[in-house]
Structure formats: structure tokens, C-alpha cells
Symmetry: C2
Subunit: 331 residues, 2 copies
């Protein structure tokens, strides 16, 4: 019997995620029913949101069930189809999880055109991370030309797009990232105006230097001290798109200390989940796809090899060891 490999959640993390929270399994390739499609996944996307799904707490989504395939976005190729809308060889994007293969009824499966855009980009700049950046920037931060925006985790899949889109809109874009190599990349390759290395230990002073006119909008992926440093530099009526709090995903206390800034500067902060705003995806993906195809929106990928490497790659992502979009190559 033909089988494929998948990774299930074995246990919920207590603090930091460890490899033992996952289990690699062999499962039989299922027979398709009418309307179904069998997909071989080429790439799996690893994203910080998965950390929150591993917990059993009140959140925007049901927790990842124990013993089931870990949730995750995938791109791949149709290898068998009993659905008239899909043909063997079609490149598709879906949510087939940490798995070498998957079955879909076609409803949430998107056909991809890889003529000008590489397949893996549909998990990054032209996929959910890109849309997350696009949504936060255009719908929440709404920066005007000449304004200063700051984005944390600036070299990552989301942050890198936020800053580049802001530059295209005539803003001053300042990133925060960990380490000189990432910061150099953010400035020299992505074209940000400045990038602050939070590991250098001078975040508030470095941020002040990089934002001489204050900060008009923040895209926050991390939380904690870096976020408080941004709050202290906000201009009146500043906007904050709260996308992630990766600094606190293991349960570390991560308060906002500078609450007064919200009042004195009349700030607006909004937490958001991009998948709740599907009506805007066509518009956003059109912009992102056009920019990537034209080489005007750059991205970088960290690619782990083989499904078995996914847990370590995911743990590395949570610790900031990745550089750019974290993917797992499956086929």
C-alpha cells in the first residue's frame, strides 16, 4: 500500500516548543471520492500563528487537535483528480498541513500561475504573509507619503513586505531585526531607510536616531520592549497594526508599559487576522503579484529540506533563526 508522511501534534508545549511536541507518521494514500483531488505538496509554509494554535486557549481559532495533522499552508501539484475543475499537473495552494500529500474537495484550493511567479512565493510575498502585510499597511496603518513607519521582524516574510510597500507609497520605512546580517539585508536589499539591530542593546537610542520625525505608524510582530520603545516615539494620531506577539508566545510576560502614549498621542491600535478579510485578497494579491513578477518586491527564503526537518525549522522560526520566509521543501 502506498503511504506518505505527515506530522501530527503529539502534545501541547509547556513554555517553549520542543521536538517532542510533534510526531512523524506514515499514513496510507487514501482513495479519492467524487469531487476530490489528491495533491503532492512541494512546499510547506511555517508561520508564527501556528504557535498559538498549539495552545488550548480561547482564541480566534479552534486549537490544533492532538493527534491530527498540524495546520499549515502548502503549495503543490495535483496528482489525481475526481473534480472537473482540477487537472493533473495543476499547481495549487491550499491548507493541507504538515504533510507530503493531501486531499481537497477543491473549495479552498487556489490554482496558481507560475509563469512569472515562483511556486514558493505563493506561500510568502504573494500569499498569506504578503496579504497580512498588505492588509495591516493599507487598512490599519494607512500611511501618507512622507510619514515614518516602523516594522518589527523586518527581515521576515511579513515585515519585509510591509516596509517595501511603505517605500513604494513614499514613506520612510524603518525596520527592527535581530543581528547585523539581517539589518544589512533589510537596508541594502529591501531598500528600507534604516534597520535597528535589537540585539545591539541600544534600541531606544537607535530608534530615536532612525526616526527623527517620530513614528506615524507601526506594524508590530513581536511585542515587548521594542514595542514600548516605538510607543515612546509615536506622533499624534499614530496607528498600530498589531499582527503578532512572537516575544510572548511561550507565555513570557510581555506587558505594554507605555500605555499613557495611547492617551497623550491619541493612538489607535488594532489586532487583526488577515483570513477574516478575504474580500480584500483579490485586490491585495493583484498588487503583490504584479510587484513580485516585476522584481519590485523582493523576498528571501529559508528552506528546510524534507518534512522531518519541519519541527526544528519551526522552533528556529520562533527563535528568529530563520532569515526571510521559512519554508519546508517536501518534493
Amino acid at each position: 500500500m502506498a503511504t506518505f508522511k505527515r506530522i501530527v501534534l503529539a502534545s501541547r508545549p509547556k513554555g517553549e516548543v520542543v521536538p517532542e511536541n510533534f510526531r512523524l507518521e506514515d499514513v496510507p494514500v487514501p482513495a479519492l471520492k467524487d469531487g476530490e483531488i489528491l495533491i503532492r505538496n512541494h512546499y510547506l509554509s511555517l508561520d508564527p500563528y501556528m504557535r498559538m494554535r498549539m495552545e488550548d486557549v480561547k482564541s480566534y481559532a479552534a486549537p490544533q487537535p492532538i493527534g491530527e495533522t498540524m495546520i499549515g499552508g502548502t503549495v503543490g501539484e495535483v496528482i489525481e483528480s475526481k473534480n472537473p475543475k482540477f487537472t493533473v499537473g495543476d499547481k495549487v495552494q491550499g491548507m493541507l498541513g504538515w504533510s507530503e500529500m493531501g486531499v481537497s474537495d477543491g473549495v479552498m484550493l487556489r490554482k496558481l500561475d507560475t509563469t512569472h511567479i515562483p511556486l514558493s512565493a505563493y506561500l510568502g510575498a504573494v500569499g498569506m504573509p504578503g496579504m497580512t502585510a498588505w492588509y495591516g499597511l493599507t487598512q490599519i496603518m494607512q500611511p501618507k507619503e512622507g510619514e515614518t513607519i516602523v516594522v518589527s521582524a523586518a527581515s521576515g516574510a511579513v515585515g519585509s513586505v510591509v516596509g517595501q510597500l511603505a517605500k513604494l507609497r513614499g514613506c520612510r520605512a524603518v525596520g527592527i531585526a535581530g543581528g547585523k546580517e539581517k539589518c544589512d539585508y533589510v537596508v541594502n536589499e529591501l531598500g528600507f531607510d534604516a534597520c535597528i539591530d535589537y540585539k545591539a542593546g541600544n534600541l531606544p537610542a537607535d530608534l530615536a536616531k532612525a526616526t527623527p520625525n517620530g513614528i506615524d505608524a507601526v506594524f508590530e510582530n513581536v511585542g515587548g520592549e521594542g514595542f514600548d520603545a516605538c510607543l515612546a516615539r509615536m506622533n499624534p494620531f499614530g496607528r498600530i497594526a498589531l499582527c503578532g506577539l512572537i516575544a510572548g508566545y511561550d507565555g513570557q510576560p510581555m506587558p505594554i508599559n507605555n500605555v499613557r502614549a495611547f492617551l497623550t498621542m491619541r493612538l489607535t491600535m488594532r489586532g487583526f487576522i488577515v483570513s477574516e478579510h478575504m474580500e480584500l485578497w483579490p485586490q491585495g494579491l493583484r498588487e503583490l503579484g504584479t510587484l513580485v513578477a516585476a522584481g519590485r518586491l523582493k523576498f528571501r527564503e529559508s528552506i528546510a529540506d524534507g518534512l522531518a526537518s519541519a519541527p526544528d525549522a519551526f522552533i528556529g522560526l520562533l527563535k528568529g533563526r530563520n532569515f526571510g520566509k521559512q519554508l519546508v521543501k517536501l518534493a
Copy 2:
């Protein structure tokens, strides 16, 4: 030479405000120039925002200068006029400060109709506090019928209006206040559905009981633990109007610990200053004035007697010793 009394800022507070931060002075009644009006103030409004003005920090307004009349809203009567738009005997509202008299050029002076609305109400429910409540509720919280709203400092000049306006819009209104007497007033007189006494020491459990369907919108005047307790009960897409942080005005650390709720529940929080939205005042004051005149919007006043009592009354306000709108009767 005729004189009147005023209170100036003598020094900036270090931590808690003390009486020595103020100085009572006698000053000569000035001769009017063309276009000016002399007003005898009947009531001075004491408001928490004054505490922030006493500090010399970056904020939405210039700090209160040392040695000058403390800022403050007043209502009174024209006693001399060299301005054709104002006549002796006119009742007026202005920002003439902690002072028995004041001179105005008429620009920021509002003539008042006291036929159906008592003069002092123009410093409360039909003045800046009422507008603050109206703005936060209608523009930021935007509650729908059947939703649950929570307001802290619920028996105060602002909070009492927030809850009553929410009830008129078909919401469940829950207050937070200090002490049984205030809570009884909030429920029995103002008509809130429930009021939690934070001094009773069971805030999170009491709040859970009072908000069985969670919280859809919060009007926050206080900050600190009560605010975190609200955040833990928020429903998806909840809105927070951040109006004040009285718990931290003396420099106490007052973090938001439950930052994650903003993300998981996709909350929106906005700090605001009602005086920056003057274009909405006519609409808001029309609703507030109509309700007060009809007896459908209730309020309560704590009235200190004489200008010399203002510093103690203000310190009491910051400690929550007032009950309802804190005024000082001047004439």
C-alpha cells in the same frame, strides 16, 4: 482697587498632587479693552485631565505654566461687556480657569440657556464630560443593540453619561466604581444593569458574573488591573475607547498585561481627546441637552465651596473621593 482671587500652579507635583502645588492669589480686576467681556465665574469644573497638564511632559497640550492661573472650565455671568455680542447678565461657559473672575474676547465663550438646564450642568453632562462620553460611545465604541459595554469610574461625570447613553441604545451597561454607595447609585439611580465595586477585591469574578455574554466595548477612564480584567472578557472585534488612566497619573507603573487579547480577539483601542473633535459637539450637545432637559439623563454633583477649597477637592477627585461631577462653587 477691586480685586478677585485666583489659584496658580506654584510647583509641579512629584508623585501625588499636594496642596503646596497651588497658590491662592489676589489680583486686581482689569480694565476692559474694546471687544472684551468681564465674567464672574459661578462654578469651576475640576477634571482629571488637569493632572496631566501639571506635568512638564510631551503630551497633547502644552503644560500648565508655573505661576499662571490653573486651566479649567467655568460657567458664570457677564458683569461688564465691551463686546456687542454679550450683554451684562448673559450666562456663559468658558475656560477661565481656577479664578473668581475672568476676561474673555468672546471667541471661546458660549452663551448658555438655563431655562431647562441648570447652569452647572454645562460643566458636566451637557459640557465637556458629557461630550467626552458621547464621543467615545458613538464614535469609538459604536455599540449595537444587545451588546455589553463596560465603563470604569462609572459614577463619575463621564462614566455616568456613557452608561446611560448606552442603555438608551439598547445595550447592557456594566459599571466599575469604588464602594457600595457609588455602585448602588450607578444601578438604582442611573439604571445600569450592574456595577462592580473594585474595592471589594473580586473584580475579575464579579466582572465575569456581570458580563455573561462577554464584553463588546469598554470605556476606560482608569487603567491598571480593572482594565486587564475587562480585556480578558472581550468578545471578537471589541472596541476600547481610552479616555483616561487616572490610576497612573502620579507616575505609578500601570501596564497592560493582557496584550494578547488584542490579537486573539482582534480588538481596536483608540485614545482620544474630545476637544479635537469640535465639529461633532453641536450634534452631541443637542442629544445631551435634550436628555437632561427631559430628565432622562441623570447626574450628580460634588460641590466644594469657594475657590480656596479647589486644591483639596481636586486631590480628592484624583483619589476618587468625589461622587459624581466635581465642581467648585465660586459665587
